[in-house]
């Protein structure tokens, strides 16, 4: 069972952002993820790359906008790689060298940025909220700061979590956002334009 993907448009509007494209994983039962060369053992990095690709393939412009940033948010991060490394150490086995790179969320962020030509800021966070909605809201808030400050014109926000047991499976959303025409101060916390 996967958590339902939160609708990003309201939380984005609440941060003064407009959604240019969005995607989620899974989209359907038995949805699949393409393997990601160079990353092993864990589903986290393929999940991030898959949902990011689905989002960017659906964006209005084919050309990447200059200064598109990448914000990767995950409350739990890559739990599988962490467990593999811990087990190897506990059992006195060598740590697979490829895990050096993938143990850090920046690595898959770098893959996505290089694949799609995103040359804005690269930021990874571990939001402290416990729900998909709160994780996405925090990530959108962080993206809004990047756009407001001018370091990014657009930001690809990816919120991804691996399943944590009890039948919970991997889930992720990706949202490409830009500054909304309506200033944030005129938007309610639910994302409605106060003037209307």
């Amino acid at each position: 069972m996967s958590a339902p993907a939160p609708d990003p448009s309201g939380p984005a509007a609440a941060q003064g952002l407009v959604v240019l494209a969005a995607a989620r994983w899974p989209e359907r039962p038995q949805d699949s993820v393409a393997p990601l060369p160079g990353f092993i053992l864990s589903s986290f990095q393929p999940l991030v790359a898959e949902v990011a690709g689905r989002c960017l393939r659906g964006r209005p412009s084919v050309e990447p906008a200059p200064r598109t940033g990448l914000l990767l948010a995950s409350a739990r991060g890559d739990t599988v790689t962490r467990a593999v490394v811990a087990a190897a150490l506990a059992e006195g086995r060598p740590v697979p060298p490829l895990l050096f790179y993938q143990s850090n969320p920046n690595a898959v962020a770098g893959h996505v940025a290089a694949r799609w030509g995103l040359d804005g800021p690269v930021v990874c966070t571990a939001p402290l909220g416990g729900t998909p909605e709160s994780v996405l809201a925090d990530a959108l808030g962080c993206a809004a700061l990047l756009i407001e400050d001018g370091d990014a014109r657009q930001v690809l926000v990816v919120a991804a979590e691996q399943g944590g047991g009890a039948g919970e499976s991997d889930h992720a959303v990706a949202v490409l956002v830009a500054a909304a025409a309506v200033p944030r101060r005129l938007v309610t916390s639910e994302g409605r334009d106060q003037r209307s």
């Binding site: 200064r67 740590v95 850090n104 690595a107 001018g150």
Partner: protein
């Protein structure tokens, strides 16, 4: 290189630093750490904190009596708040800060709950607002966000804390990835550089609106004049060889401050002794300073305190601020064989006296993440 982005609006508030703290293998406290680091006293020794028999490399820069990450972060935050005269214990009822941002590898469990919750509870601060995990630029990214919050008027005072204490998991990963220097020496920018060594690093900065600090009668230690972030869009972990991503981050920081590159009098470089990374940073500095690249003093203090991962950018920001305040630029330690491809004016042998008014603290990380923080003298 110049990117016609939107600069900070003219109405933005000035951001100053009113509290600083640092911990490295040299000890605790911004003044002590900066003094030792500036003089080029390398702190690398054989690792005794945990067994390294299974690894290729056995050296790091460790604080002998380091406590837990929670304890050291809490101590650092308290010392910085005390300097900022914002100690919550001394000012009961008043919030010591509006926002607390934390840069660490993860929100690891502690006996007092998750690290973020335990830290704010121990320090009597509001809950951590956001936790940054962007590797070696985690702390500087948090500082940039803090600056935006203050400049835009959404916060008056923000505390940013960051830290990493060398432990077996990251050590094993760096060793497995052959990122550690096989001969146990760190030589940033040197021709014979062979990689990084890890080091303990914890730091805290208190950022504040200049007008708020002035109203409280608290002196500014320095100005955070500019900040910039940009990506390489190049590779999973390798830096862009031409340094363009880092150069764009510097350009954004300078533009935001309205300061020309010719007014920068010191660069605290990211270089950690990696062959590709150090070369890319040299190219970035060529793009930023042009023909003057050989006239700007540069040093990477990782040759002294090691690579503190998520703690590194904030530790190096504190060292950069103290360099401006003291008028002594840190030595580039570890360099014996100059790289003929490196035209930089490295601070060699002894700390260099300086009257610089602006200094840059640069950081880069996996994934092509680059940050630049421009510090101005108070």
């Amino acid at each position: 290189m110049r990117d016609q982005g939107t600069p900070r609006p003219a109405t933005a508030r000035r951001v100053v630093l009113t509290g600083l703290d640092a911990l490295s293998a040299h000890g605790r406290g911004a003044a002590l750490v900066s003094s030792q680091v500036t003089s080029g006293t390398a702190a690398f020794a054989t690792v005794e904190r945990f067994g390294t028999q299974a690894f290729r490399v056995h050296r790091a820069a460790l604080l002998p009596d380091a406590g837990t990450l929670l304890a050291e972060l809490a101590g650092s935050v308290r010392r910085a708040l005390a300097q900022a005269q914002a100690d919550p214990r001394a000012d009961a009822g008043a919030a010591a800060c509006d926002t607390l941002l934390l840069a660490v590898h993860s929100d690891e469990p502690t006996p007092e709950g998750p690290l973020s919750r335990a830290l704010s509870a121990r320090c009597g601060l509001p809950a951590v607002t956001r936790l940054y995990t962007t590797a070696c630029v985690a702390g500087s990214t948090a500082v940039a966000d803090a600056a935006v919050l203050i400049a835009s008027g959404r916060a008056d005072r923000v505390v940013v804390a960051a830290g990493y204490l060398v432990e077996p998991v990251q050590y094993a990963l760096f060793d497995a990835g052959r990122a550690l220097s096989r001969d146990g020496e760190v030589r940033p920018f040197a021709a014979d550089r062979k990689g990084a060594l890890l080091g303990d690093g914890v730091a805290t900065v208190v950022l504040e609106a200049a007008e708020a600090a002035e109203a409280r009668g608290v002196p500014a230690l320095a100005v955070l004049a500019g900040w910039g972030r940009a990506g390489d869009a190049h590779h999973v972990v390798r830096p862009r060889p031409d340094g363009l991503g880092l150069a764009r981050a510097v350009d954004a920081a300078l533009r935001r401050a309205g300061v020309g590159a010719d007014r920068v009098g010191y660069v605290n470089a990211n270089a950690n002794g990696a062959v590709l990374g150090d070369s890319a940073e040299v190219e970035a500095l060529r793009l930023v300073f042009g023909d003057a690249v050989g006239t700007v003093p540069v040093s990477s203090t990782k040759g002294v305190h090691g690579h503190a991962l998520e703690g590194s950018a904030l530790l190096e920001l504190v060292i950069t601020v103290e360099a401006l305040r003291s008028g002594r630029l840190p030595v580039q330690a570890g360099l014996r064989t100059a790289d003929p491809q490196c035209p930089l004016d490295l601070v060699l042998d002894h700390p260099r006296p300086s009257t610089a008014r602006y200094a840059l603290s640069l950081n880069s990380a996996f994934g092509g993440a680059n940050t630049a923080l421009l510090v101005g003298a108070a």
